[in-house]
């Protein structure tokens, strides 16, 4: 076995070490990266921007802590943006952990001085309807009657007692739906039921793994915009002027991608050289 054969069968722990270094080292660097805005993120931002203050937005938190590093920055930015712009937010979760992730996002958002200044109040500026089992059936049921689907909020308060929920019957009373999703049930189900069947205006934030599957919906106009992974989060942060973890961690992601590409190039060089040596 020559050197290049050995290189092709390099111990995976060496690759792990390089990836770990690529992820951790950027935390200690202060390199400014220029973040360009992609059309799908611009589309989502434009949809948010087109809403006048007082509009009602539904945000569905369909993910768990495993996907939080990618989706939580989007959630925090969306909450900050909604609170400062005076948009009213109705939160729910088709995943059991969703409503807790929402609470964590709101807690982070409320720490921002610009949000503090607006002093958003529970029940008036946002409500958390909590988790409901039933996956896409929950979306379908909300299409006809939201208060029947969610008769109480996550703390057990009747929804008819919450000022924000007054006049909310179904999706026709909601101006925009923003879905944060890491799988099933998620964006695909929101497109199929809320957007297609009940003609709701829908945007989404997905994990980088899931986002490619949503492009056909984006191209067909069933989604007005899409945030894909941490890159999407960082672009959204730039557009909304709420720089956060998405922007901060993009450097780590850049380095990690670069390291993987370098390894792929090394692997291919070793492959071709090794093949050439054997032919000789």
């Amino acid at each position: 076995m020559n050197f290049f054969d050995k290189l092709m069968k390099i111990d995976r722990r060496i690759i792990f070490l390089f990836v770990a270094a690529a992820v951790i080292l950027p935390f200690f660097l202060s390199i400014h990266q220029k973040i360009l805005i992609s059309p799908e993120v611009q589309g989502l931002y434009d949809a948010f921007e087109s809403l006048p203050p007082g509009s009602k937005i539904m945000i569905s938190y369909d993910y768990d802590p495993a996907s939080a590093p990618e989706l939580q920055p989007m959630a925090v930015t969306a909450m900050k943006y909604c609170f400062t712009k005076g948009l009213k937010v109705i939160i729910l979760g088709l995943w059991p952990q969703g409503s807790i992730q929402a609470n964590m996002a709101i807690e982070s958002a409320l720490e921002d001085p610009r949000v503090k200044e607006k002093n958003p109040q529970y029940g008036k500026d946002w409500v958390n309807l909590g988790y409901m089992s039933g996956n896409e059936l929950v979306i379908q049921r909300m299409g006809t009657d939201i208060p029947v689907t969610f008769p109480r909020d996550y703390q057990g308060n009747p929804v008819e007692d919450l000022p924000l929920m007054q006049g909310i019957k179904n999706f026709s009373n909601v101006d925009f739906i923003f879905n944060l999703s890491a799988g099933y049930p998620g964006t695909q189900e929101w497109v199929q039921f809320a957007a297609d069947r009940f003609h709701a205006k829908l945007g989404a934030g997905n994990t980088a793994v899931q986002a490619p599957g949503m492009y056909p919906y984006l191209r067909a106009g069933q989604l007005v915009g899409l945030l894909g992974g941490m890159k999407g989060a960082s672009e959204f942060e730039k557009l909304t002027d709420f720089e956060g973890k998405g922007t901060k961690f993009m450097l780590s992601q850049s380095f990690a991608h670069a390291i993987i590409i370098i390894f792929i190039i090394i692997g291919n060089l070793a492959y071709f050289i090794s093949r050439g040596v054997k032919k000789k």
């Binding site: 390099i10 995976r12 690759i15 792990f16 390089f18 990836v19 770990a20 990266q33 220029k34 973040i35 360009l36 992609s38 059309p39 802590p65 495993a66 996907s67 939080a68 590093p69 952990q97 409503s99 807790i100 609470n103 964590m104 807690e107 909590g130 409901m132 089992s133 039933g134 996956n135 059936l137 929950v138 049921r141 006809t144 009657d145 029947v148 689907t149 996550y154 703390q155 057990g156 069947r197 980088a208 490619p212 492009y215 056909p216 992974g229 890159k231 960082s234 993009m250 850049s254 990690a256 991608h257 670069a258 390291i259 993987i260 590409i261 390894f263 792929i264 692997g267 291919n268 492959y271």
Partner: protein, 217 residues
Amino acid sequence: MRREIPLILTATVGIVYIISFFIPHRPFGSVETLFSDWILIIAAFAIWLGALNLLRVSADKIYRKKKDWFYALVTILSFFLIAIIGFFFSRGSHFQDVGTSFDYLYRNVYNPLSATMFAILAFFVASASYRAFRARSWEATLLLLAAFFVMLGRVPIGDMISGFLPENIRLSAVATFIMNIPQSAGQRAIMIGIGLGIISTALRLILGIERTYLGGD
């Protein structure tokens, strides 16, 4: 009757849902709403069934001292710990509020453990990419090139590297083209295939041809 009733229920619900999609008015719309409420209630019961099944399987593993039974013990202890703390020591129905004991466990145990498990994937993806992306054939080379452009084009470093090029052929532009055109076309083909598969399976279920869900032949 044990077979006939589920078959009749499946056929009735299936037909009502299909008709109400095209005619969402009385009586189909209201019957569909009724069925949806039933399904939501059944789904809530299914969560309990799932939890009880997890306990049963784990308890059996411990009782029979099967391989890795210790982890089953950790599962059961964690299950009861979070349930007891959630039900009795976290302000009742306000258990999801910031500052409760349940919230503490969620943030400081469940949250980092879940994120860690998912983060490990990055290391395996890196290792697998190194071995899998080899230009062994024409198709493999295409995959390799797509991976190269998308991985670099989807992070800011891609534009830093290709910053000297005109904007429409920079790495991010190439990545956007790949995602929007060939990738979307492939996804559409897969979606149409899945859709046709779902339609045929649904028809087989509604017509009673497919009966494996009844637990029999």
